[in-house]
Symmetry: C2
Subunit: 242 residues, 2 copies
Protein backbone atom coordinates (compact mmCIF):
# COMPACT_ATOMS: atom_id res chain seq x y z
CA UNK A 1 0.00 0.00 0.00
CA UNK A 2 1.38 3.37 -1.04
CA UNK A 3 1.18 6.05 1.65
CA UNK A 4 3.39 8.70 0.15
CA UNK A 5 1.54 11.91 -0.55
CA UNK A 6 4.46 13.56 -2.34
CA UNK A 7 2.56 13.65 -5.65
CA UNK A 8 0.16 16.15 -4.07
CA UNK A 9 3.03 18.31 -2.90
CA UNK A 10 4.58 18.25 -6.36
CA UNK A 11 1.26 19.11 -7.98
CA UNK A 12 0.67 22.05 -5.66
CA UNK A 13 4.25 23.29 -5.86
CA UNK A 14 3.92 23.39 -9.63
CA UNK A 15 1.17 25.99 -9.20
CA UNK A 16 2.52 28.18 -6.39
CA UNK A 17 5.20 28.40 -3.75
CA UNK A 18 4.64 25.93 -0.93
CA UNK A 19 6.19 26.79 2.43
CA UNK A 20 7.84 24.14 4.60
CA UNK A 21 5.07 24.63 7.10
CA UNK A 22 2.47 23.92 4.46
CA UNK A 23 4.31 20.84 3.31
CA UNK A 24 4.50 19.41 6.78
CA UNK A 25 0.85 20.13 7.48
CA UNK A 26 -0.04 18.12 4.42
CA UNK A 27 2.29 15.29 5.30
CA UNK A 28 1.00 15.02 8.83
CA UNK A 29 -2.66 15.33 7.93
CA UNK A 30 -4.94 12.53 9.16
CA UNK A 31 -4.93 10.52 5.95
CA UNK A 32 -6.75 7.23 5.61
CA UNK A 33 -5.07 5.08 2.98
CA UNK A 34 -6.64 2.50 0.77
CA UNK A 35 -6.23 0.61 -2.50
CA UNK A 36 -8.76 -0.25 -5.20
CA UNK A 37 -8.75 -2.59 -8.18
CA UNK A 38 -9.41 -1.44 -11.70
CA UNK A 39 -13.09 -0.71 -12.34
CA UNK A 40 -13.90 -0.51 -8.64
CA UNK A 41 -16.03 2.44 -7.62
CA UNK A 42 -14.29 4.77 -5.21
CA UNK A 43 -17.17 7.18 -4.77
CA UNK A 44 -20.79 6.63 -5.76
CA UNK A 45 -23.11 8.99 -7.51
CA UNK A 46 -25.74 10.22 -5.10
CA UNK A 47 -23.58 9.70 -2.02
CA UNK A 48 -22.71 12.52 0.37
CA UNK A 49 -19.03 12.07 1.20
CA UNK A 50 -17.57 13.41 4.41
CA UNK A 51 -14.03 13.01 3.11
CA UNK A 52 -12.18 13.99 -0.02
CA UNK A 53 -10.03 11.55 -1.93
CA UNK A 54 -6.47 12.12 -3.10
CA UNK A 55 -5.03 9.88 -5.80
CA UNK A 56 -1.53 8.61 -5.02
CA UNK A 57 -0.86 6.03 -7.71
CA UNK A 58 -2.65 4.75 -10.79
CA UNK A 59 -5.40 6.36 -12.82
CA UNK A 60 -8.94 7.24 -11.82
CA UNK A 61 -11.83 8.87 -13.59
CA UNK A 62 -15.15 10.55 -13.01
CA UNK A 63 -17.89 8.81 -14.90
CA UNK A 64 -21.41 9.73 -15.80
CA UNK A 65 -23.63 6.76 -16.63
CA UNK A 66 -26.51 6.66 -19.06
CA UNK A 67 -29.59 4.54 -18.78
CA UNK A 68 -28.57 2.30 -21.65
CA UNK A 69 -25.36 1.39 -19.81
CA UNK A 70 -23.04 3.59 -21.83
CA UNK A 71 -20.80 5.92 -19.94
CA UNK A 72 -18.74 9.03 -20.44
CA UNK A 73 -15.61 9.73 -18.45
CA UNK A 74 -15.60 13.43 -17.63
CA UNK A 75 -12.22 13.63 -15.96
CA UNK A 76 -9.07 11.59 -15.95
CA UNK A 77 -7.02 11.79 -12.79
CA UNK A 78 -3.31 11.26 -12.29
CA UNK A 79 -1.40 10.90 -9.02
CA UNK A 80 -1.41 14.13 -7.04
CA UNK A 81 -4.97 14.98 -8.06
CA UNK A 82 -7.76 15.32 -5.56
CA UNK A 83 -10.53 13.46 -7.33
CA UNK A 84 -13.40 15.04 -5.44
CA UNK A 85 -12.24 18.12 -3.65
CA UNK A 86 -15.46 19.75 -4.81
CA UNK A 87 -17.42 17.28 -2.70
CA UNK A 88 -16.81 19.53 0.29
CA UNK A 89 -18.74 22.28 -1.47
CA UNK A 90 -21.38 20.19 -3.22
CA UNK A 91 -23.33 17.99 -0.91
CA UNK A 92 -24.46 15.24 -3.26
CA UNK A 93 -22.10 13.62 -5.77
CA UNK A 94 -23.43 14.07 -9.27
CA UNK A 95 -21.13 11.40 -10.71
CA UNK A 96 -19.12 8.31 -9.82
CA UNK A 97 -15.39 8.18 -9.27
CA UNK A 98 -13.94 4.93 -10.58
CA UNK A 99 -10.50 3.39 -10.48
CA UNK A 100 -9.38 3.01 -14.09
CA UNK A 101 -6.34 0.96 -13.08
CA UNK A 102 -5.30 -0.44 -9.73
CA UNK A 103 -4.92 2.67 -7.58
CA UNK A 104 -3.78 3.86 -4.18
CA UNK A 105 -5.68 6.70 -2.62
CA UNK A 106 -5.75 8.71 0.60
CA UNK A 107 -8.86 10.17 2.19
CA UNK A 108 -9.01 13.28 4.41
CA UNK A 109 -12.04 14.55 6.21
CA UNK A 110 -13.83 17.65 5.01
CA UNK A 111 -13.53 18.94 8.56
CA UNK A 112 -9.77 18.89 8.30
CA UNK A 113 -9.85 20.67 4.96
CA UNK A 114 -12.26 23.27 6.19
CA UNK A 115 -10.07 23.84 9.24
CA UNK A 116 -7.24 24.72 6.88
CA UNK A 117 -9.13 27.73 5.62
CA UNK A 118 -8.67 29.32 9.04
CA UNK A 119 -5.25 28.04 10.04
CA UNK A 120 -3.62 28.01 6.59
CA UNK A 121 -5.57 30.28 4.26
CA UNK A 122 -2.94 30.29 1.55
CA UNK A 123 -2.86 26.51 1.38
CA UNK A 124 -6.62 26.36 1.42
CA UNK A 125 -6.75 28.80 -1.43
CA UNK A 126 -4.23 26.74 -3.35
CA UNK A 127 -6.47 23.72 -2.99
CA UNK A 128 -9.37 25.76 -4.33
CA UNK A 129 -7.15 26.63 -7.25
CA UNK A 130 -6.91 22.96 -8.13
CA UNK A 131 -10.69 22.91 -8.41
CA UNK A 132 -10.44 25.80 -10.83
CA UNK A 133 -7.74 24.00 -12.84
CA UNK A 134 -10.01 20.99 -13.01
CA UNK A 135 -12.58 23.30 -14.52
CA UNK A 136 -10.08 24.58 -17.08
CA UNK A 137 -9.27 21.03 -18.11
CA UNK A 138 -12.95 20.29 -18.47
CA UNK A 139 -13.43 23.34 -20.67
CA UNK A 140 -10.71 22.07 -22.91
CA UNK A 141 -12.35 18.68 -23.15
CA UNK A 142 -15.63 20.33 -24.08
CA UNK A 143 -13.88 22.27 -26.82
CA UNK A 144 -12.28 19.09 -28.09
CA UNK A 145 -15.40 16.94 -27.95
CA UNK A 146 -17.35 19.62 -29.72
CA UNK A 147 -14.96 20.78 -32.38
CA UNK A 148 -11.84 18.66 -32.70
CA UNK A 149 -11.51 15.66 -34.99
CA UNK A 150 -11.04 12.33 -33.28
CA UNK A 151 -7.34 12.10 -34.07
CA UNK A 152 -6.61 15.64 -32.90
CA UNK A 153 -8.59 15.06 -29.73
CA UNK A 154 -6.64 11.90 -29.02
CA UNK A 155 -3.36 13.69 -29.67
CA UNK A 156 -4.44 16.49 -27.36
CA UNK A 157 -5.24 14.07 -24.57
CA UNK A 158 -1.83 12.47 -24.86
CA UNK A 159 -0.16 15.88 -24.64
CA UNK A 160 -2.22 16.78 -21.60
CA UNK A 161 -1.58 13.54 -19.75
CA UNK A 162 2.12 13.76 -20.50
CA UNK A 163 2.41 17.26 -19.05
CA UNK A 164 0.33 16.43 -16.00
CA UNK A 165 2.36 13.31 -15.30
CA UNK A 166 5.62 15.18 -15.75
CA UNK A 167 4.62 17.59 -12.99
CA UNK A 168 4.48 14.72 -10.54
CA UNK A 169 7.62 13.06 -11.84
CA UNK A 170 5.95 10.15 -13.59
CA UNK A 171 7.52 10.58 -17.01
CA UNK A 172 10.82 9.22 -18.19
CA UNK A 173 12.22 11.28 -21.05
CA UNK A 174 9.35 11.39 -23.53
CA UNK A 175 7.45 8.38 -22.27
CA UNK A 176 5.07 7.43 -19.48
CA UNK A 177 3.19 4.42 -18.21
CA UNK A 178 -0.44 4.71 -19.25
CA UNK A 179 -2.42 1.96 -17.55
CA UNK A 180 -5.50 2.60 -19.62
CA UNK A 181 -7.25 0.28 -22.05
CA UNK A 182 -8.54 1.46 -25.37
CA UNK A 183 -12.04 0.82 -24.09
CA UNK A 184 -11.50 3.34 -21.32
CA UNK A 185 -9.93 5.72 -23.78
CA UNK A 186 -13.08 5.45 -25.87
CA UNK A 187 -15.19 6.49 -22.88
CA UNK A 188 -12.88 9.44 -22.33
CA UNK A 189 -12.98 10.61 -25.92
CA UNK A 190 -16.64 9.88 -26.54
CA UNK A 191 -15.73 7.49 -29.36
CA UNK A 192 -16.12 3.79 -30.07
CA UNK A 193 -13.29 1.40 -29.25
CA UNK A 194 -12.88 0.59 -32.91
CA UNK A 195 -12.36 4.18 -33.87
CA UNK A 196 -9.97 4.83 -31.01
CA UNK A 197 -7.91 1.93 -32.23
CA UNK A 198 -7.82 3.32 -35.75
CA UNK A 199 -6.88 6.81 -34.61
CA UNK A 200 -4.08 5.37 -32.48
CA UNK A 201 -2.76 3.58 -35.49
CA UNK A 202 -2.94 6.77 -37.48
CA UNK A 203 -0.82 8.57 -34.89
CA UNK A 204 1.61 5.68 -34.92
CA UNK A 205 1.73 5.68 -38.69
CA UNK A 206 2.53 9.39 -38.65
CA UNK A 207 5.39 8.54 -36.33
CA UNK A 208 4.03 10.84 -33.64
CA UNK A 209 3.70 8.30 -30.85
CA UNK A 210 4.49 4.76 -29.88
CA UNK A 211 2.35 2.74 -27.49
CA UNK A 212 3.56 -0.68 -26.45
CA UNK A 213 2.85 -2.62 -23.31
CA UNK A 214 1.16 0.25 -21.48
CA UNK A 215 4.02 2.59 -22.20
CA UNK A 216 3.39 5.63 -24.37
CA UNK A 217 6.33 7.36 -26.03
CA UNK A 218 5.99 10.69 -27.76
CA UNK A 219 8.30 10.56 -30.72
CA UNK A 220 7.89 14.13 -31.94
CA UNK A 221 6.53 16.50 -29.32
CA UNK A 222 6.47 19.59 -31.50
CA UNK A 223 4.56 17.99 -34.32
CA UNK A 224 2.17 16.28 -31.93
CA UNK A 225 1.46 19.50 -30.04
CA UNK A 226 1.00 21.43 -33.26
CA UNK A 227 -1.32 18.79 -34.67
CA UNK A 228 -3.41 18.84 -31.47
CA UNK A 229 -3.24 22.65 -31.11
CA UNK A 230 -2.04 21.94 -27.59
CA UNK A 231 -1.34 25.03 -25.45
CA UNK A 232 -0.60 24.18 -21.81
CA UNK A 233 -1.66 27.56 -20.43
CA UNK A 234 -4.89 26.10 -19.08
CA UNK A 235 -2.95 23.79 -16.77
CA UNK A 236 -1.67 26.83 -14.82
CA UNK A 237 1.87 25.61 -14.46
CA UNK A 238 4.36 28.03 -12.97
CA UNK A 239 7.12 29.04 -15.33
CA UNK A 240 10.59 28.20 -14.11
CA UNK A 241 13.14 25.63 -15.27
CA UNK A 242 11.88 23.89 -18.31
Amino acid sequence: MITDIRPLILALAARDVLSDDERSILISAPWRFRGYDAEEEIIQEGSEPKESCLLLAGFAGRTIMFKDGRRQITALHVPGDFVDLHSQLLKVMDHNVVALSPVSVAFVSHDFLQGLSETHPHLSRLLMTTIAIDGAIQRNWIAGLGRRSADAQLAHLICEVFVRLRIVGLTKDMSFKFLITQLILADVLGLSVVHVNRMLQALRASDLIEWVKQTVTIKDWDRLARFAEFDPTYLSIQQRER
Copy 2:
Protein backbone atom coordinates in the same frame (compact mmCIF):
# COMPACT_ATOMS: atom_id res chain seq x y z
CA MET B 1 -28.27 50.32 -17.67
CA ILE B 2 -29.33 47.62 -15.23
CA THR B 3 -27.75 47.87 -11.80
CA ASP B 4 -29.85 45.41 -9.87
CA ILE B 5 -27.85 42.50 -8.52
CA ARG B 6 -30.88 40.62 -7.25
CA PRO B 7 -30.29 37.76 -9.70
CA LEU B 8 -27.09 36.94 -7.81
CA ILE B 9 -28.95 36.89 -4.54
CA LEU B 10 -31.61 34.61 -5.97
CA ALA B 11 -28.98 32.29 -7.41
CA LEU B 12 -27.13 32.04 -4.11
CA ALA B 13 -30.28 31.70 -2.04
CA ALA B 14 -31.29 28.76 -4.21
CA ARG B 15 -28.19 26.96 -2.98
CA ASP B 16 -28.04 27.86 0.69
CA VAL B 17 -29.53 30.14 3.31
CA LEU B 18 -28.45 33.76 2.85
CA SER B 19 -28.53 35.98 5.93
CA ASP B 20 -29.74 39.57 5.76
CA ASP B 21 -26.23 40.68 6.55
CA GLU B 22 -24.88 38.71 3.61
CA ARG B 23 -27.52 40.16 1.32
CA SER B 24 -26.70 43.69 2.26
CA ILE B 25 -22.97 43.13 1.90
CA LEU B 26 -23.59 41.97 -1.64
CA ILE B 27 -25.91 44.84 -2.44
CA SER B 28 -23.52 47.45 -1.12
CA ALA B 29 -20.40 45.95 -2.68
CA PRO B 30 -18.35 48.28 -4.90
CA TRP B 31 -19.84 47.17 -8.18
CA ARG B 32 -18.86 48.72 -11.48
CA PHE B 33 -21.68 48.43 -13.97
CA ARG B 34 -21.47 48.16 -17.71
CA GLY B 35 -23.31 46.98 -20.79
CA TYR B 36 -22.09 45.12 -23.86
CA ASP B 37 -23.57 44.39 -27.27
CA ALA B 38 -24.00 40.92 -28.64
CA GLU B 39 -20.72 39.35 -29.76
CA GLU B 40 -18.63 41.86 -27.82
CA GLU B 41 -15.82 40.34 -25.80
CA ILE B 42 -16.16 40.96 -22.07
CA ILE B 43 -12.94 39.25 -21.05
CA GLN B 44 -10.05 38.26 -23.30
CA GLU B 45 -8.14 35.02 -23.34
CA GLY B 46 -4.64 35.60 -22.02
CA SER B 47 -5.63 38.59 -19.90
CA GLU B 48 -5.11 38.72 -16.15
CA PRO B 49 -8.27 40.24 -14.70
CA LYS B 50 -8.25 42.04 -11.36
CA GLU B 51 -12.04 41.91 -11.16
CA SER B 52 -14.68 39.26 -11.52
CA CYS B 53 -17.75 39.76 -13.65
CA LEU B 54 -21.34 39.12 -12.63
CA LEU B 55 -24.01 38.79 -15.30
CA LEU B 56 -27.16 40.78 -14.57
CA ALA B 57 -29.17 40.54 -17.79
CA GLY B 58 -28.83 38.75 -21.10
CA PHE B 59 -26.74 35.73 -22.01
CA ALA B 60 -22.99 35.33 -22.04
CA GLY B 61 -20.68 32.46 -22.84
CA ARG B 62 -17.14 31.27 -22.46
CA THR B 63 -15.59 30.51 -25.81
CA ILE B 64 -12.50 28.65 -26.87
CA MET B 65 -11.25 29.57 -30.33
CA PHE B 66 -9.48 27.33 -32.81
CA LYS B 67 -6.91 28.40 -35.32
CA ASP B 68 -9.25 27.87 -38.24
CA GLY B 69 -11.68 30.37 -36.73
CA ARG B 70 -14.19 27.86 -35.43
CA ARG B 71 -15.19 28.12 -31.83
CA GLN B 72 -16.73 26.10 -29.05
CA ILE B 73 -18.77 27.65 -26.30
CA THR B 74 -17.86 25.88 -23.06
CA ALA B 75 -20.34 27.57 -20.79
CA LEU B 76 -23.59 29.42 -21.18
CA HIS B 77 -24.33 32.00 -18.51
CA VAL B 78 -27.64 33.34 -17.32
CA PRO B 79 -28.31 36.34 -15.07
CA GLY B 80 -27.04 35.75 -11.56
CA ASP B 81 -23.98 33.83 -12.75
CA PHE B 82 -20.48 35.01 -12.08
CA VAL B 83 -18.89 34.41 -15.44
CA ASP B 84 -15.30 34.31 -14.23
CA LEU B 85 -15.20 33.89 -10.51
CA HIS B 86 -12.38 31.42 -11.08
CA SER B 87 -10.25 34.25 -12.43
CA GLN B 88 -9.38 35.16 -8.85
CA LEU B 89 -7.77 31.74 -8.47
CA LEU B 90 -6.30 31.32 -11.94
CA LYS B 91 -4.05 34.15 -13.00
CA VAL B 92 -4.32 33.96 -16.77
CA MET B 93 -7.66 33.53 -18.54
CA ASP B 94 -7.59 30.40 -20.67
CA HIS B 95 -10.66 31.43 -22.65
CA ASN B 96 -12.75 34.42 -23.73
CA VAL B 97 -16.00 35.55 -22.21
CA VAL B 98 -18.35 36.90 -24.85
CA ALA B 99 -21.75 38.55 -24.72
CA LEU B 100 -24.12 36.29 -26.65
CA SER B 101 -26.89 38.86 -26.53
CA PRO B 102 -26.91 42.44 -25.31
CA VAL B 103 -25.96 42.11 -21.65
CA SER B 104 -25.61 44.08 -18.45
CA VAL B 105 -22.83 43.10 -16.11
CA ALA B 106 -21.29 44.21 -12.84
CA PHE B 107 -17.61 43.93 -11.96
CA VAL B 108 -16.16 43.57 -8.44
CA SER B 109 -12.51 43.58 -7.55
CA HIS B 110 -10.77 40.40 -6.53
CA ASP B 111 -9.57 42.25 -3.46
CA PHE B 112 -13.12 42.72 -2.32
CA LEU B 113 -13.94 39.09 -2.91
CA GLN B 114 -10.85 37.93 -1.11
CA GLY B 115 -11.68 40.19 1.79
CA LEU B 116 -14.97 38.36 2.12
CA SER B 117 -13.17 35.16 3.01
CA GLU B 118 -12.11 36.78 6.27
CA THR B 119 -15.13 38.92 7.09
CA HIS B 120 -17.86 36.65 5.69
CA PRO B 121 -16.49 33.12 5.40
CA HIS B 122 -19.87 31.54 4.81
CA LEU B 123 -20.64 33.85 1.92
CA SER B 124 -17.19 33.33 0.49
CA ARG B 125 -17.69 29.60 0.67
CA LEU B 126 -21.02 29.93 -1.07
CA LEU B 127 -19.34 31.76 -3.91
CA MET B 128 -16.80 28.94 -4.16
CA THR B 129 -19.73 26.58 -4.37
CA THR B 130 -20.89 28.33 -7.51
CA ILE B 131 -17.51 27.51 -9.06
CA ALA B 132 -18.10 23.88 -8.18
CA ILE B 133 -21.60 24.00 -9.69
CA ASP B 134 -20.08 25.42 -12.83
CA GLY B 135 -17.87 22.37 -12.86
CA ALA B 136 -20.84 20.07 -12.46
CA ILE B 137 -22.56 21.72 -15.41
CA GLN B 138 -19.43 21.30 -17.49
CA ARG B 139 -19.26 17.62 -16.62
CA ASN B 140 -22.77 17.23 -17.86
CA TRP B 141 -21.93 18.94 -21.10
CA ILE B 142 -18.95 16.63 -21.55
CA ALA B 143 -21.21 13.64 -21.01
CA GLY B 144 -23.66 15.01 -23.55
CA LEU B 145 -21.13 15.97 -26.18
CA GLY B 146 -19.50 12.59 -25.88
CA ARG B 147 -22.45 10.26 -25.66
CA ARG B 148 -25.78 11.92 -26.32
CA SER B 149 -27.39 12.19 -29.73
CA ALA B 150 -27.80 15.69 -31.10
CA ASP B 151 -31.52 15.88 -30.39
CA ALA B 152 -31.17 14.60 -26.83
CA GLN B 153 -28.32 17.00 -26.18
CA LEU B 154 -30.40 19.90 -27.44
CA ALA B 155 -33.34 18.82 -25.30
CA HIS B 156 -31.06 18.56 -22.30
CA LEU B 157 -29.73 22.05 -22.82
CA ILE B 158 -33.26 23.44 -22.97
CA CYS B 159 -34.13 21.68 -19.71
CA GLU B 160 -31.01 23.03 -18.06
CA VAL B 161 -31.49 26.60 -19.21
CA PHE B 162 -35.12 26.53 -18.15
CA VAL B 163 -34.27 25.40 -14.62
CA ARG B 164 -31.43 27.88 -14.27
CA LEU B 165 -33.58 30.74 -15.48
CA ARG B 166 -36.42 29.75 -13.18
CA ILE B 167 -34.12 30.08 -10.18
CA VAL B 168 -33.61 33.74 -10.99
CA GLY B 169 -37.23 34.35 -11.84
CA LEU B 170 -36.81 34.65 -15.59
CA THR B 171 -39.38 32.08 -16.63
CA LYS B 172 -43.09 32.62 -17.13
CA ASP B 173 -45.03 29.40 -16.71
CA MET B 174 -43.25 27.00 -19.04
CA SER B 175 -41.56 29.55 -21.25
CA PHE B 176 -38.56 31.86 -21.25
CA LYS B 177 -36.89 34.42 -23.45
CA PHE B 178 -33.90 32.85 -25.11
CA LEU B 179 -31.92 35.55 -26.90
CA ILE B 180 -29.71 33.06 -28.67
CA THR B 181 -29.37 32.46 -32.39
CA GLN B 182 -29.15 29.00 -33.85
CA LEU B 183 -25.60 29.79 -34.84
CA ILE B 184 -24.69 30.31 -31.21
CA LEU B 185 -26.56 27.16 -30.26
CA ALA B 186 -24.46 25.29 -32.77
CA ASP B 187 -21.29 26.51 -31.06
CA VAL B 188 -22.72 25.41 -27.72
CA LEU B 189 -23.70 21.95 -28.91
CA GLY B 190 -20.69 21.34 -31.11
CA LEU B 191 -22.92 20.94 -34.16
CA SER B 192 -23.47 22.74 -37.44
CA VAL B 193 -26.18 25.38 -37.73
CA VAL B 194 -28.00 23.28 -40.26
CA HIS B 195 -28.20 20.31 -37.96
CA VAL B 196 -29.28 22.42 -35.01
CA ASN B 197 -32.10 23.71 -37.11
CA ARG B 198 -33.18 20.20 -38.05
CA MET B 199 -33.06 18.96 -34.48
CA LEU B 200 -35.12 21.93 -33.34
CA GLN B 201 -37.71 21.06 -35.92
CA ALA B 202 -37.68 17.48 -34.71
CA LEU B 203 -38.42 18.63 -31.15
CA ARG B 204 -41.18 20.86 -32.46
CA ALA B 205 -42.62 18.06 -34.54
CA SER B 206 -42.69 15.82 -31.46
CA ASP B 207 -44.64 18.60 -29.77
CA LEU B 208 -42.05 18.92 -27.02
CA ILE B 209 -41.20 22.57 -27.47
CA GLU B 210 -42.18 25.71 -29.29
CA TRP B 211 -39.73 28.43 -30.23
CA VAL B 212 -41.06 31.59 -31.74
CA LYS B 213 -39.64 35.09 -31.65
CA GLN B 214 -36.91 34.31 -29.13
CA THR B 215 -39.39 32.75 -26.76
CA VAL B 216 -39.06 29.08 -25.94
CA THR B 217 -42.04 27.22 -24.53
CA ILE B 218 -41.77 23.74 -23.13
CA LYS B 219 -44.97 21.99 -24.09
CA ASP B 220 -44.40 18.72 -22.26
CA TRP B 221 -41.82 18.94 -19.49
CA ASP B 222 -42.02 15.32 -18.44
CA ARG B 223 -41.54 13.90 -21.89
CA LEU B 224 -38.79 16.39 -22.68
CA ALA B 225 -36.92 15.61 -19.48
CA ARG B 226 -37.31 11.90 -19.99
CA PHE B 227 -36.13 12.14 -23.58
CA ALA B 228 -33.08 14.13 -22.49
CA GLU B 229 -32.45 11.98 -19.39
CA PHE B 230 -32.40 15.27 -17.50
CA ASP B 231 -31.77 15.00 -13.77
CA PRO B 232 -31.32 18.39 -12.07
CA THR B 233 -29.28 17.06 -9.15
CA TYR B 234 -26.07 18.46 -10.62
CA LEU B 235 -27.43 22.01 -10.36
CA SER B 236 -27.40 21.73 -6.54
CA ILE B 237 -30.73 23.37 -5.99
CA GLN B 238 -32.08 23.35 -2.46
CA GLN B 239 -35.24 21.38 -2.03
CA ARG B 240 -38.12 23.43 -0.68
CA GLU B 241 -41.37 24.52 -2.29
CA ARG B 242 -41.79 22.74 -5.56
